[in-house]
Symmetry: C2
DNA sequence: TTGAAAGCGATACCAG
DNA sequence: CTGGTATCGCTTTCAA
């Protein structure tokens, strides 16, 4: 039990060949000419010993780790994000990389970058908020080829994946106005983790509302019945609400029903995410669905480009999703 | 841009000391007596160069990586699990370990173990279904000190964290019977990822129902209104339902309302998870809340024990949560 | 108080 | 076709 893990030298000895041959065989090096018989012996010896190569040693020698780090705290919860991550993992592992989620102990900026850099990953994906200019510099100098910021707006300092929250708000507001709404409200969650996204969605809604001459009220809403009830005069004053997402929409619909405000009769309602609960509400909830199916392969391709090329690329961004309106009964 | 990352030797040269001194200073080795002046010089040189140690090299030299791997596919979605993971991360990083989520490309058994073993982690947490005896052996022989299976029942081959799904079902069924239910149904989700947990919850409910002489019907339910409506005769035949979780409870409550079945008048309903939506439903949903607050520190402590000791421990298990009934209006 | 040097495991160059 | 061996970056023992 306490024996140290077998090394390639152990395999070599057991097979009666040199370490070099073991390496050639186990990695199928194209240039290497090793007889089929030796190949077999090496394979068998490795099998017998339960040999597993030491990633750290390999990294040290080759200078490339094949590791791609993504910061855990920057992946939103939910089946959508999880599915995307799984797909991304598949794409990347097909290309020979290893995707790993790293907690980084809620660090940000340079300290976070240092923690990531110790692993000498070949790429790092992290929330735009964690990647300031110096953090990116630390990563670059540690040999990270691709640094990609994840966030609601593109980063000035590195490549980024921007998620178009403003577009969601715009789509929702446009729909409400199309339906005849003359004054609308947009919810911004009071929860710290959600507020920023809420503000981006709001800004998109505001842009459309202004363009079409419809007044828009911002409603800062904590997720609680009391919070929603406290804003009752807001909901009574408008005839359309973009509720930030489906959860908030459900909250509002419950509170409005208890208060005798009819949806969509008195106020039309639009959510976002197309959660399962959207079709379970009565009236069924109109919502914005986000189609992220294109994102994993797009991102994987972009990463590969960045990782293969020598000089760091210009800060650019990809925009890998697409909001789609799903009209149901609440609007 | 293309310069290689600075090494400890670079730092040493810049500070005018030896590599050894750099190592002593940067790791504050207790035994090392280095003058404050040299200390300062070394620190400054490291700073100036943006030096970040190379984790792989350190692992190679010391034989310990400090890496703890947890398989991504075995962490359920949802804020609960995410919060737990964050807390666990904090606990472990406080102790000097680095928690990392690894996708493992949906591998299982020996291939998965090999992939994990390459990183020479000091501990691996993975779904019980992925860890057969040989997989555990591979990990052990790669020097992994702690192998912990995550699952609904304890593993015969290694230590495990078992989540007490049966206890949840038992609690829910007991409550329904206390409320006077004479025939109850328990939902088992048809979705592949959920079915197994559903069956464990069912078995707990069944145990209690049998002990108290109440007939229990198993209801295999896909998550859709049609699926739920197809089983209407089941819901009409019973006077209590344990709905597997809050999402399924919401589905059922919607379908029952549409069909004119009153909750809790005709049938009492209990969910699980105490999601935000539970209090938004009308009637408000009675549910089983899972208190996982103790789990991260418990698990971290257990891991630490396993990692420090030499011989692999007997397969035992910890049981780090606690179902609690939250009674509302639906029951 | 500091330095020289061995060695962790794998790779790849250069000989044979 | 195969083998020796230098090397990657870091820690740590032993000497100075």
């Amino acid at each position: 039990m306490n024996a140290k893990p077998p090394t390639s030298l152990d395999v070599a000895r057991l097979a009666g060949v040199s370490q070099a041959t073991v390496s050639y065989v186990l990695n199928d090096r194209p240039g290497a000419r090793v007889s089929d018989e030796t190949r077999e012996r090496v394979r068998e010896a490795a099998e017998r010993l339960g040999y597993v190569p030491h990633a750290g040693a390999r990294t040290l020698r080759t200078g490339r780790s094949g590791l791609i780090l993504i910061s855990m705290d920057d992946v939103p919860y939910g089946p959508l994000a999880i599915g995307m991550l799984e797909e991304l993992d598949r794409e990347l592992s097909r290309r020979g990389y290893t995707l790993v989620q790293y907690g980084a102990r809620r660090l940000r900026g340079v300290p976070a970058a240092r923690a990531w850099a110790e692993l000498r990953p070949v790429a790092v994906l992290a929330g735009a908020g964690k990647l300031d200019e110096q953090a990116v510099a630390v990563l670059r100098s540690a040999g990270v080829k691709a640094v990609v910021a994840l966030g609601a707006h593109s980063s000035a300092v590195t490549a980024s994946v921007v998620v178009d929250h403003a577009g969601i708000g715009a789509l929702a507001a446009g729909h409400l106005i199309d339906r005849g709404c003359r004054t609308i409200a947009a919810v911004v969650p009071a929860e710290p983790g959600l507020r920023e996204m809420g503000e981006h969605r709001l800004s998109g809604a505001r842009r459309v509302a202004e363009a079409r001459g419809v007044p828009l009220t911002r409603a800062d809403l904590p997720f609680s019945e009391e919070g929603a009830a406290a804003l009752l005069d807001v909901w009574r004053r408008v005839d359309g609400v973009f509720a930030y997402n489906d959860d908030y929409a459900m909250l509002l619909m419950t509170v409005l029903r208890d208060a005798g405000v009819a949806v969509p009769g008195d106020v039309r309602m639009v959510g976002c995410d197309d959660l399962p609960l959207a079709t379970l509400l009565r009236p069924r909830l109109t919502t914005v669905r986000i189609d992220v199916s294109a994102m994993p392969s797009l991102l994987a391709r972009r990463l590969e480009e960045l990782m293969e090329q020598e000089a760091p690329a210009e800060p650019d961004h990809i925009h890998p999703w697409n909001p789609v309106l799903v009209v149901r009964e609440s609007s």
